[in-house]
């Protein structure tokens, strides 16, 4: 699916660019974004190092195991294929916690660490496991309790109203994501090849 969407976006970009006369802008965007991609990755190095360092302390001191144990009833149902004591569960929980608290900077390193640990359990390294898909569905549905600072800055006093509507909308999208991922993992075309 990603293959078609990836190609489709570029092809539509080219065709629409010809129609609207924006073809120069399309060219420029392709070059600029290639540069931006590297800048994002390089900018991530420091933040990644900071959070992975702190995570290592939390891991060695047993804090992560402690948190993972507390949330076991939930994680066992969401990630039945991952052993409940596996470090991946701890990282997944911390990533979700960071997302809920609106700590985007902390969420990415924790999420990438969770992916690395899930990959250790993956028998087929180029193919996503059920656990990975579930984790990403929850992640991309954006569980959020605290509004991003940027939104608060933009909306000012109206943020208070947005707070409630966002919580309702994001809860619905998270439930939809979980239901969708759990339903689709049983479909023939998406079935785990093992």
């Amino acid at each position: 699916m990603l293959n078609y969407i990836w190609f489709g976006m570029m092809a539509i970009g080219l065709i629409a660019g010809v129609i609207t006369g924006n073809i120069d802008a399309v060219t420029q965007a392709a070059i600029d974004m290639a540069k931006t991609a590297v800048e994002i990755a390089i900018g991530l190095i420091g933040i990644m190092a900071l959070w992975l360092g702190i995570m290592k302390i939390a891991e060695e001191s047993g804090l992560i195991r402690l948190i993972a144990r507390g949330l076991r009833p939930v994680t066992i149902r969401l990630f039945p294929d991952v052993p409940p004591d596996h470090p991946a569960i701890g990282s997944i929980i911390l990533n979700m916690a960071a997302n809920i608290l609106g700590l985007g900077n902390a969420a990415t390193p924790l999420g990438l660490k969770a992916m690395e640990e899930l990959q250790e359990l993956n028998p087929k390294k180029d193919t996503a496991t059920n656990a990975m898909c579930t984790f990403l569905a929850i992640n991309t549905s954006s569980v959020q309790l605290i509004l991003p600072a940027t939104v608060v800055g933009l909306m000012g006093v109206a943020s208070n109203q947005i707070f409630i509507t966002t919580i309702i909308a994001t809860s619905l999208s998270t439930v939809a994501g979980i239901v969708a991922v759990k339903t689709m993992e049983k479909w023939k075309r998406y079935r785990e090849v093992s």
Binding site: T20, V26, E60, S61, P109, G111, Q119, M132, T166
Partner: protein, 182 residues
């Protein structure tokens, strides 16, 4: 009452990051007696490899998104969609943001800023936009980075599931705001 709680939560949120940066080493150093400095450095080393590993995936996805965005395809799409949108009560002003949100965080923030500047923070359109922004994620970016970091290329049902979650978030944002704030 509610406002006080919300302000309190948002104020408390400011202390979370510095708090964690101090409390976690504190626990390790004094309760578990581990060498926090050495352990930190050991963990931090992985930051470089992971960040570098995601570069090719980021380039692929961001270039495609950039070309799509710059081409004006969104505006063309919008023209075709107008009659359908009116029929379901979806404000056309919010459509570019809804389509942009799964693609680009900075792009959708730009569109939200534009909505607030054009219609004012107190308008229903801005409120719907802000709710959309907060209740969905940049699915394509997250998938590319997360799967890219471990070298997974066959993403199975992760993308359709993520897009379903986005769609539900976007439609919920519209109808919940209309219901509660309209």
């Amino acid at each position: 009452m509610l406002e006080t709680i919300i302000t309190a939560i948002n104020t408390a949120a400011k202390f979370i990051i510095p708090g964690l940066l101090v409390l976690i080493p504190l626990y390790g150093l004094f309760v578990k007696k581990i060498k926090v400095y050495e352990v930190f450095v050991e963990g931090a080393k992985d930051g470089f490899t992971i960040a570098v590993r995601i570069i090719p995936y980021l380039v692929a996805i961001l270039v495609a998104i950039g070309m799509f965005r710059a081409s004006g395809a969104l505006d063309l799409l919008l023209k075709f969609m107008a009659p359908v949108l009116n029929a379901i009560g979806f404000p056309p002003e919010n459509v570019p943001l809804a389509l942009m949100r799964p693609l680009s965080g900075s792009g959708s923030l730009g569109l939200l800023t534009d909505l607030v500047n054009t219609y004012g923070a107190d308008s229903l359109i801005a409120k719907i936009g802000a709710t959309m922004f907060g209740s969905t994620e940049t699915t394509f970016y997250v998938l590319a980075v997360y799967f890219g970091s471990v070298g997974v290329t066959k993403s199975r049902h992760a993308l359709p599931a993520g897009l379903i979650a986005d769609a539900v978030g976007i439609f919920s944002a519209v109808y919940i705001c209309k219901l509660l704030l309209g």
